[in-house]
């Protein structure tokens, strides 16, 4: 059950990273999980910093993301998340694309057996395009910055715990994260906190399904957005549903749907709408002697 993962939705407008797939488990030594996924999103509903919903021109985003986990020891797992290409555009602009920011997560198991508990440190290295201007297709003098990376170095620290019900194929996970943000081009951003809960169940001993609830909030009260497109002041609650279907040997198909509401944190500085994702992952199992 630890192998199930939802597609890592990354860089949703405006460059929100959601710490998906957090659990108290680490991989066993030699175990791996490698996924390539595609997600698509489109919305006209923008929630401003005051939480007011505005109807704007439609914003569209598609992402191709590589996500991998590998257990170097039974207690240490390295996780990498790299948006291979983010495509961003409004209905009134051209679409621009670029590589996203690389997130490397170093996860260590604090407790393993009865109370799985793990801590992880995940620096996000700003290798994506911090500025990527899309020209308007309506007025030739207008353009908008739709970067594929947020341009700033930041570090997520996550504490996560999980439980499983023995032979009954059900599990749950709970996590809390803190995102230490720095600055880009002299603009400082507020730190963020994220929380999340996940439950999963295996149907007919074949298909894993799961449900998640995540929340993100700013540590500081933001009165004026330092930069709309770099997630400053962004807050939201998201919920998602996923299914993981075995396809061939250790290859699986992953389907996800995610959307937003105001249940934990009111939506602020974010486009809200349904995100559909599809991915293929490979479960690497160490050879048994």
């Amino acid at each position: 059950m630890r192998s199930i993962r939802i597609i890592q939705i990354f860089a949703l407008l405006f460059l929100v990273h959601e710490a998906n797939g957090q659990s108290g488990w680490t991989k066993a030594k030699g175990e791996g999980f490698f996924q390539t996924s595609f997600s698509t999103f489109g919305s006209k509903e923008y929630f401003n910093l005051g939480g007011e919903k505005l109807i704007t021109n439609q914003f569209n985003q598609q992402s191709m993301v590589f996500y991998g986990e590998y257990g170097f020891t039974d207690k240490f797992t390295l996780i990498a998340n790299l948006p291979l290409q983010n495509f961003n555009g409004f209905e009134t602009t051209e679409t621009v694309s670029g590589l996203g920011d690389l997130r490397l997560e170093f996860k260590h198991a604090l407790l393993k057996k009865y109370f799985p508990l793990a801590i992880s440190i995940a620096p996000e290295i700003p290798i994506g395009k911090a500025n990527n201007f899309a020209n308007s297709i309506v007025n030739d003098f207008e353009r908008i910055n739709l970067p594929s990376g947020d341009g700033e170095f930041n570090v997520w620290t996550t504490l996560a715990t999980s439980f499983a019900l023995g032979d009954f194929p059900f599990y749950g996970s709970l996590f809390g994260s803190y995102n230490y943000r720095t600055e880009y081009d002299g603009i400082s951003f507020s730190d963020q906190m994220a929380v999340g809960v996940e439950f999963g169940y295996k149907i007919a001993n074949i298909v894993w399904v799961n449900a998640r609830l995540n929340g993100l909030t700013s540590v500081d009260e933001i009165i004026e957005v330092a930069d709309f497109v770099r997630g400053d002041g962004t807050e939201y609650t998201s919920y998602s549903f996923g299914a993981s279907i075995p396809v061939y040997k250790e290859f699986h198909l992953n389907l996800t749907y995610r959307n937003y509401n105001d249940f934990l944190f009111q939506r602020r500085n974010i486009y809200s709408g349904g995100v559909f994702g599809i991915g293929v992952y490979y479960d690497l199992k160490p050879e048994t002697k």
Partner: protein
């Protein structure tokens, strides 16, 4: 040696005495004094930090200008912010009828003092507001009521 020094003296002073630099008249700036007819303070919208004052009126030669004062600012890092004159505080585009309630003034690129020349023949009297508009997204960044 004296001849050399005298020669250099003459050359230097001759250079200093050349014609004055030509005066470049920037037609995008008011000529002479701008007579403010109406003015208003920007109200921020959508946490974009808009502030400052907008004024409208003719310059000495009778050309109408919209002017932003030194305190003007808005969020310019996200994308193009376009200045419009409007008959209300709401941006109401009507492409089918040529948007009679709006007049495109132009994009604003910098914080601080800005001048925008209003085309000749435009009746600015009917426009009551200045709107700062992020056109790519279609959201207002602020407006100022001219009175």
């Amino acid at each position: 040696m004296k001849k050399v020094i005298l020669f250099l003296f003459v050359i230097i002073f001759a250079a200093c005495g050349e014609d004055e630099k030509p005066v470049i008249i920037d037609s995008s700036l008011p000529n002479g004094v701008l007579t403010v007819q109406r003015t208003g303070t920007f109200v921020d919208q959508n946490a974009s930090g808009s502030a400052g004052r907008a004024s409208i009126g003719p310059d000495t030669q009778g050309t109408t200008f919209l002017a932003f004062n030194n305190e003007f600012r808005t969020k310019l890092s996200t994308g193009t912010v376009t200045v419009w004159l409007s008959t209300s505080d709401t941006f109401t585009a009507s492409p089918g009828t040529g948007s009679p309630n709006l007049l495109l003034v132009g994009p604003v690129r910098n914080a601080g003092e800005n001048f925008f020349k209003i085309p000749t023949g435009v009746d600015v009297g009917k426009y009551t507001h200045v709107i700062l508009w992020c056109g790519a997204v279609s959201v207002p960044f602020g407006n100022a009521r001219l009175q």
